[in-house]
Amino acid sequence: MNPKLSNRIAISVLYVISGTIIVILAALLGYIIISGLPAINWHFLTSPARAFTSGGGIGIQLFNSFYLLILTMLISFPIALGAGIYLNEYAKQNWVTALVRTAIEILSSLPSVVVGLFGFLIFVVQFDFGFSILSGAFALTFFNLPLLTRSIEEALAAVPNAQREGGLALGLSKWETVTHIIVPAALPAILTGVILSAGRIFGEAAALIFTAGQSAPALNFADWNPFNMTSPLNPMRPAETLAVHIWKINSEGIMPDAKAISSGSSAVLVISVLAFNLLARFVGKRLFKRLTAS
């Protein structure tokens, strides 16, 4: 076979593969949204869930999901960023570093139910946080750290060495080079990593069942004092998230409209992730422009 022909064949195969992936996603999204859309309306999005009568909504669960996501990111992003910077910029290539890397990879392959139970025994029982958003956020941090660290490290590694040399040549310290040059240059890639892991956090259920809990007590959305039990901002209240809610309905739901609620919730979940992606992308672009003066 001559090289030109094989070139053409190979490239068309690649087109087919990429096309297939897009079709798979389109089919998935189409299925989720078409089966879920009829259930979605303002009432569904804002009213609290009902245990066994129809007409319940997902308002509280939706809020909990976002709140938990933000808290988890607040805790895990600085840690992952620090770890990523150290691994890529400071760590020597020796067996200790290799061990740490292996440890991180192992953490990422742990089933989330194990992480959830660990979180349950440590935070809920030992530290006496109870079933709360805070326990959930810590458990999700464990779950999130390896992937986030890995993607941040890779994002940093992708920045050309010339940038580092330039920074050092200008008399900046290594730390200044990293914070003022490398991190801003790697920002779009870091942001992609954050989005990817945010998607995972948003949809995670198994790790939360034993930590953030499976009940969503009524909230008073007029009360923004984080020390009150019914305040949406209280991090010590039990909080069922949307993904846990879907899991619960699919498994034990006895409300007559369980199926509609579960497909509606799935659609909302996917649409939220979509919206979140678009927003992060937009912010990332703006940020990149401001930080790198390009």
Binding site: I11, I21, L25, A83, Y90, S108, V113, L145, V273, N277
Partner: protein, 308 residues
């Protein structure tokens, strides 16, 4: 005057202080992760080993036994905790889904980096990110309502089994493997491409003979990560694989994985009892198996890097 200058020169500059602070803070962050990992490993190991040490189950029976019935004792007076069906199930599903996902993932990654970066960034990148965003519960639900009936009508049986599990896992690990392969391909220096093209190689020859070779270690890591995710995935697989603690006889017979048995059973057992410890032993097996996977791939990666 001289003294003052000396002091000024010898004093740590603001930048140096910041440097030390930054370095130690980022080191602390890394240590935090490492300590957490070891805490979890010790926790799982102490629970998992107690099946063998406090409940005196023979390790060989655990690995090779085919009956999983921890609340029942067999003829020898030992509890029936044979994990072979689950170990086999986990292995088969993981390897199959990685086999299916790898060509797709690498193909898409090449498309995004080499063939059409613009379209890749505009269309495929968001697609991949969205696929990650779909929660495993939803994947499981779709598997249950779409893939299982489809398998049933095409291949007979109940539809629950390794084939359905593979289908679901394939879609679930695809984004992980793809995005990491993209990173690996992007890390290949630009002059490799330019040199190959300048020598008169076609685009495909450049990709196949140069870029893919250079990116092999990175892509292997991507595949391990995908396999690790497939290994640890619980909810979605559990919904479609059937959870029968039987050695799989065909791709469409119900089977089980370590995670599916772990998730279904953990809430129904009492902390500290044999039944509970046996489940933690499964988690330990999971841990050890992923460790072995990591090491093997590391070796392959090192070899690949040397022959480059």
């Amino acid at each position: 005057m001289n003294n003052q200058l000396k002091k000024q020169l010898l004093k740590r500059s603001k930048a140096a202080k910041l440097e030390r602070l930054g370095k130690s803070v980022s080191f602390l962050a890394l240590m935090l992760i490492t300590v957490t990992v070891f805490a979890i490993i010790i926790f799982v190991a102490s629970k998992g080993f107690s099946t063998f040490f406090s409940n005196h189950v023979s390790f060989v029976d655990f690995i090779t036994g085919k009956n999983w019935n921890p609340s029942v004792t067999n003829a020898k007076g030992q509890p029936e905790v044979g994990a072979l069906p689950m170990i086999a199930g986990s292995f088969i599903v993981t390897i199959l889904s990685a086999l299916v996902a790898t060509p797709f993932a690498i193909g898409a990654a090449i498309f995004m980096t080499e063939i059409s970066p613009q379209r890749g960034a505009k269309i495929l990148q968001p697609v991949i990110e969205l696929l990650v965003g779909i929660p495993s519960v939803v994947y499981g639900f779709i598997g249950l309502t779409v893939i299982v009936p489809l398998t049933r009508s095409l291949f007979g049986g109940s539809g629950f089994g390794i084939l359905s599990g593979t289908c679901v896992l394939f879609v679930m690990i695809l984004p992980t493997v793809t995005s990491m392969s993209v990173d690996a391909l992007r890390a290949v220096p630009r002059y490799y491409r330019e040199a190959a093209l300048a020598l008169g190689a076609t685009q495909w020859q450049t990709i196949y003979k140069v870029i893919l070779r250079a990116a092999t270690p990175g892509m292997l890591t991507a595949i391990v990560f995908g396999m690790a995710r497939a290994f640890g995935e619980a909810l979605a697989v559990q919904m479609v694989i059937g959870n029968a603690a039987l050695l799989p006889t065909s791709l469409v017979s119900p089977a089980s994985t370590l995670t599916s048995v772990l998730t279904t059973g953990i809430g129904n057992t009492v902390m500290g009892s044999l039944q509970n410890n046996a489940l933690w032993s499964l988690a330990l097996v999971l841990l050890v198996m992923s460790l072995i996977f990591n090491l093997v791939i590391r070796l392959i990666g090192r070899k690949g890097a040397m022959s480059k």
